[in-house]
Amino acid sequence: MSTDNGLLVDVKEVDKLFKRGSEEIHVLGGLNLEIPRGEFLALMGPSGSGKSTLLNLIGGLDRPSAGTVTVGGERIDKLSNRRLASWRSRHVGLVFQFYNLLPVLNAARNVELPLLLTHLSAAKRKEHVETALSIVGLSHRMKHHPRQLSGGEQQRVGIARAIVTDPTLLLCDEPTGDLDRKAGDEILELLQTLNKEQGKTIVMVTHDPHAAHCASRTVYLDKGQLSREPVA
């Protein structure tokens, strides 16, 4: 990804509205957000405040109704569906609250999924998968299916899948939301390591102030607007 004065993500005047029947729901309104390269940003706010929507826009999973989303100097809101899919596969790693692993595939095959879109040989893919799983400490669980893994382990596999293509940007949607404190702490520690040692830029949506403490910056979202302080 090209650099833009050290800025990786630049969200400008973004509106997002959803239509429910004849009703229009404004989730984000004129929102601006800049995320420097290498930052670990926590995004907090009450339910329905638009956190996940914003995360989806930054990750190219959805498009804004108005405004621009620039990531790594590229206007992703202008890309065609096909180019956007290709861009996601190269530049973004996604971590979900409920892991979203494919239950029919073992850990290694789940991690391999994004690599299927590359031109890597089977041997090279295997090498990358082993590296990603060793980073998250699950080399010994490669052949295990999701149902054979604990919640924490499943989330580690999810993180391995997110980093296997070595993306610049990691987007985590409540990555500890389904875990107990101990497993959650381990995941947060892992994310901090990826941020500090591998320079990944991380945007994490969370409800948990304890998780937000692990981030280098926290922003709050309420009624589609950002603030530096939590809204009372």
Binding site: N81, L102, V104, L117
Partner: protein, 384 residues
């Protein structure tokens, strides 16, 4: 190929459902293969009928006789190469259910007219020199265990002898093979001169003519000339290409092809619904998984391809197993009528049609669910 593991894993997700669907498809294609062989049996001779041969029969019905002397007149018509005649004998071998065609013919002219009947030179010579000699096709010889040298008695139902007897005895001098797989080798031919001399009535009368024309493209025109030649005579004729004649004969018991196609359409439509329902369910159950695939970078088109690939693999395994089973049933168990069918085999053309149907069913069953998967919006699907 790198997506094959993903497709296979998805098929293994609900093993019982996948197996039951595959079994349904397998049975449909077994039925297709078997009925295709039955259809071939009923239309035997149509495909291998000589394009340069006409059949000339009495205008009213094939059971009405024509004079033997018509041959010279037919052969004099411009464009006619040669003509041979035959008569339906309709005898019984041991019991009525042991049916096979029996016809008196003139051996030399007959064998010249039908080069697709392969007879050894020795057997040909024996037939020409044996007045009571007869030849039989391989299918019927195998069915009743006939061997050259056997004396074969037939009980006449249409024809009696001048001495009042109805038992006709023939010396089997040859067993002919078919030049092609579809050649009918179920008939029994014996000498017309022996028959004509011994029969109690109808001397000088024959059943029909086979006529070879010089130019197949003029077959219809020459058929018209033949009919015109005998118009307003006591025995008017109806001449038609051999293929049309054979097909008309088969159609006497109904349009078998149409009946079989109607059965297969009903079966395939039902199976299409079964396979389509399976694919629709399998996509509905994993909306969020498909969304994850898109989220990590799979394009709309590649998700469409994955679902279609899954559908095609499902139908391919079931369909090919069905075609294989049909082939085994046809080849190993053989003719279900124990020889009443002149031919019974699985044509290469029908196998190719079967494979094309498998592919079409795979696409048809998976298309709607695949389009649903293609149109999936990631953000919405991840929330489900």
């Amino acid at each position: 190929m790198k997506y094959l593991h993903l497709i296979l894993s998805n098929l293994k997700r609900k093993k019982l459902r996948t197996i039951l669907t595959m079994l349904s498809i397998m049975i449909a294609f077994t039925l297709f293969g078997y009925l295709a062989a039955v259809r071939v049996a009923f239309s035997a001779g149509v495909d291998v009928a000589g394009v340069d041969r006409l059949v000339v029969r009495h205008k009213v019905s094939i059971i009405q006789f024509l004079p033997e002397k018509y041959r010279d007149q037919i052969e004099r018509i411009e464009g006619v190469d040669s003509a041979v005649f035959a008569t339906w004998f309709g005898g019984i071998y041991q019991k009525p259910s042991n049916f096979f065609g029996q016809m008196p013919v003139e051996p030399e002219a007959f064998l010249d007219m039908f080069p697709e009947y392969i007879l050894d030179d020795d057997e040909r010579e024996a037939w020409l020199s044996t007045r009571t000699g007869a030849v039989v096709g391989r299918v019927t010889a195998d069915r009743f265990g006939f061997e050259v040298g056997d004396r074969i008695p037939l009980q006449g139902t249409v024809w009696s002898k001048k001495d009042g007897g109805t038992t006709w005895e023939f010396d089997l001098v040859g067993i002919y093979e078919g030049a092609e797989k579809g050649t009918d080798t179920s008939n029994f031919f014996f000498r017309h001169d022996y028959f004509d001399e011994a029969r109690s009535y109808g001397e000088g009368q024959i059943g029909w003519y086979w006529v070879r024309v010089d130019d197949p493209e003029r077959a219809a025109e020459i058929a018209g000339l033949i009919d015109k030649e005998f118009a307003n005579s006591p025995a008017e004729t109806k001449a038609e290409p051999e293929g049309a004649f054979v097909q008309g004969f088969a159609n006497q018991i109904g349009n078998i092809a149409k009946i079989l196609i109607a059965i297969l359409v009903a079966v395939f439509f039902t199976i299409l619904l079964v396979a389509g329902n399976t694919m629709a369910q399998t996509v509905r159950e994993r909306i969020s998984e498909l969304a994850v695939l898109k989220a990590v970078g799979f394009t709309d088109r590649s998700v469409l391809g994955l679902v279609l690939g899954e559908s095609c693999l499902l139908t391919a395994v079931g369909g090919l197993a069905g075609l294989l089973l049909a082939w085994v049933l046809i080849a190993v168990m053989g003719d279900p009528t124990s020889g009443a069918f002149p031919v019974f085999f699985f044509r290469t053309r029908d196998i190719v049609i079967g494979v094309a149907l498998i592919l079409m069913m795979g696409v048809a069953a998976g298309l709607l669910p695949a389009l649903q998967a293609q149109r999936l919006r990631i953000a919405d699907a991840l929330r489900r």
